[in-house]
């Protein structure tokens, strides 16, 4: 394995800073659990979710975290699969983030179920035609492979499995994110979805979102633990991040242009793109301008591109922009009514033909941030008890490292 010379260590800080961070993360978990117990007892009527908008803010958080999980593993894959040596020392952290995000996201998804007590049924009754059922297998497999991948990096006796485990995890995460996107791609009845492009689109969102989160967390952890993080290594990622942002926009553009071309989808595209709803504002200002164009300028303009601060701000905007993008896809897609009869006005007591509204309650927000809390707790404890972080990246990067 490449990083023989690299020294890793647990986080040694254990003062107020460490426990304060742990407590803040645990507080978020607590909020999530309170929301879960409350909703489990009273039912979903306390939420903003309805029989019109059936998936709400918890699902946005859950999918955000699940997509981020597979993206976070990419840094490891860049080192292992693409043999880019400078990134190898970050492989362990990459695996930890992947596991933490996935468990955080799954927790939100599971605790929002109408019957979370029946989780065992979801594990024992499989309908193999369902992409949801496949995803249950894909998520569990991903956790196992990411754990194995970390093991091969941490245990000398397992080093010979490092490459195979890295390749398997990389392949698996591509399938997993395709599966997550296909949850929407397979919905034949809804104009907002029903497209094979959701598989690759979600893979690209995972690339940019995962990388942005990885940059922010790596920077935070290294500075907080007073470790040396080579700024050049960090800013090298700016082109990669810019490429991913551009690729997400490209796939999004293909989806909408194709839909605009078909007369049957014109009304939906007007709704989502051309000011027919507040989702248009979120889409253009939140996702496209704030989450894509501004970060691209920050990453590529000569006056900004060398600066770590620009990279961090761009990464932060990508994270926010990706969340907004998923909100528009998930909530905006449901807000537009189903077409029972083309070219007709329809109305009923069940809100047929009506643009549905959604106002999330505090419970949904608590459940969602609970998932973020779970991921944060896992990361904060993980780096404390196991050797995930390199002591320094000052020397071992930029290609001098023995392979």
């Amino acid at each position: 394995m490449s990083n023989k010379a690299m020294v890793y260590s647990e986080v040694h800080q254990s003062g107020w800073g460490y426990y304060g961070l742990l407590a803040a993360s645990a507080f978020l978990v607590g909020l999530g659990l309170i929301a879960f117990f409350y909703l489990e007892h009273t039912g979903h009527h306390a939420t903003g979710m309805t029989n019109q908008i059936v998936w709400g803010l918890p699902h946005v958080f859950a999918i955000f975290l699940i997509v981020a999980a597979s993206g976070a593993l990419n840094i490891g894959s860049i080192g292992t699969v693409f043999n880019n040596k400078p990134y190898k020392p970050l492989g362990r952290l990459s695996g930890l983030l992947a596991i933490a995000f996935l468990i955080g996201g799954l927790m939100v998804l599971v605790l929002d179920l109408g019957h979370p007590d029946r989780l065992i049924i979801a594990m024992t009754h499989y309908n193999f035609k369902s992409i949801f059922a496949w995803n249950i297998i894909l998520y569990n497999g991903f956790l196992a492979l990411a754990a194995l991948y970390i093991w091969t990096m941490m245990d000398r006796k397992m080093q010979r499995f490092y490459k195979p485990a890295g390749f398997a995890a990389f392949f698996w995460r591509l399938v997993l994110t395709t599966g997550t996107g296909s949850i929407f791609g397979f919905l034949v009845a809804r104009e907002a979805y029903d497209s094979a492009i959701f598989g690759p689109l979600f893979i690209l969102i995972s690339f940019s979102l995962g990388l942005a989160l990885f940059i922010l967390i790596t920077f935070g952890l290294f500075h907080w633990t007073h470790r040396t993080l080579n700024d050049e290594l960090l800013t090298r990622k700016r082109y990669l991040l810019a490429l991913f942002i551009g690729a997400v926009l490209f796939f999004e553009a293909i989806f909408h242009v194709t839909a605009l071309y078909a007369a049957e989808h014109t009304n939906f595209e007007t709704f989502i793109l051309l000011g027919g709803s507040s989702y248009s504002v979120w889409f253009w200002l939140g996702h496209v301008v704030l989450g894509s164009i501004v970060p691209l300028f920050m990453l590529l303009l000569p006056m900004c591109r060398g600066r770590v601060r620009s990279l961090l701000m761009a990464s932060g905007l990508v994270v926010v922009g990706s969340f907004i993008q998923l909100y528009v896809i998930i909530i905006g897609g449901q807000a537009y009514p189903l077409t029972l009869f083309p070219n007709a006005d329809v109305s009923s007591s069940f809100f047929d033909g009506v643009i549905n509204t959604y106002s999330p309650s505090i419970w949904e927000l608590m459940l969602g941030v609970g998932g973020v809390g779970v991921a944060a707790v896992m990361i904060v404890i993980g780096v404390k008890v196991l050797r995930f972080l390199p002591v320094s990246l000052a020397q071992a990067d930029l290609g001098q490292e023995p392979d």
Binding site: T42, H115, I131, F186, L338, L340
Partner: protein, 248 residues
């Protein structure tokens, strides 16, 4: 335009008019009051048979207020429609009357919409646990014992036929238990069919609805569909629905 062409148009118009008149008369003939004569009860120890496929044909011209009485009968039979804590948007609706007006022609009609009991149901495809199921005799419904409440079937249904129960319920019907945190929908009154009775909504609109076995070419519903057709909502999706309509 030549005289020949005008005559050709006139002939086509008259022929069309004749067809419409014929269809109306035929509809009067075929759609006489529904009887349960074709139905036999299913013994408890026998599984549902794929030899049958239950379905219904609804003539919207013969309905009063688009089938409001059918909706009321369904509410009464299954006990939905008044969950006290749920908002209007959260209330389950197993069946509703939809008013349709074509934007170009302004032609308008009303029809009852519920689970269409598709032969290829998307809700069954997407359900992770198999709770959303199609019985051998074509009835699509939710096995509430293994529904985990993920609502993916609600996302998948093109007809918005599925609802989620948002609150704890009391005093439920013994023959149709509903449960918080599960998804529910029209089950074609499976408990009545198994006893050899008609679904509650069919009984409420006997002049407008024929219920029966779509697999039996001699059944009244098959005969009526052969003579008059039977349109599907969103036929483009290729789901082959068990609920068909006339005059939509």
């Amino acid at each position: 335009m030549s005289t020949n062409q005008v005559n050709e148009y006139r002939r086509r118009f008259m022929a069309g008019l004749g067809l419409v008149t014929g269809a109306t008369l035929a509809s009067n003939f075929v759609l006489r009051s529904t009887e349960a004569a074709e139905l036999v009860s299913r013994p408890d120890n026998e599984p549902a048979s794929s030899a049958k496929r239950w379905g219904m044909l609804i003539d919207v011209n013969r309905l009063t207020e688009g089938g409001a009485a059918m909706v009321e009968a369904c509410k009464k039979e299954h006990g939905w429609g008044n969950d006290p804590q749920s908002s209007a948007e959260q209330q389950p609706q197993w069946m509703r009357v939809v008013k349709v007006t074509d934007k170009t022609t302004q032609h308008s009609f009303q029809l009852p919409v519920m689970c269409q009991h598709c032969a290829n149901p998307p809700c069954v495809d997407v359900c992770p646990t198999g709770a959303s199921m199609k019985r051998a005799d074509g009835i699509v419904y939710v096995n509430k014992h293994i529904c985990i409440g993920c609502r993916y079937c609600m996302m998948a249904c093109p007809y918005k036929a599925r609802s989620f129960v948002h609150e704890p319920l009391k005093d439920q019907k013994v023959h149709s238990p509903r449960g918080m945190g599960t998804v529910e929908s029209c089950n074609m009154c499976v408990h009545r069919i198994d006893k050899g009775q008609l679904p509650a909504c069919v009984e409420a609109a006997p002049e407008a609805v024929i219920f029966g076995d779509l697999n039996d070419p001699e059944s009244r519903i098959s005969q009526a569909m052969k003579a008059l057709g039977g349109k599907q909502i969103r036929a483009d999706l290729g789901l082959n629905t068990g609920v068909r309509y006339l005059n939509i």
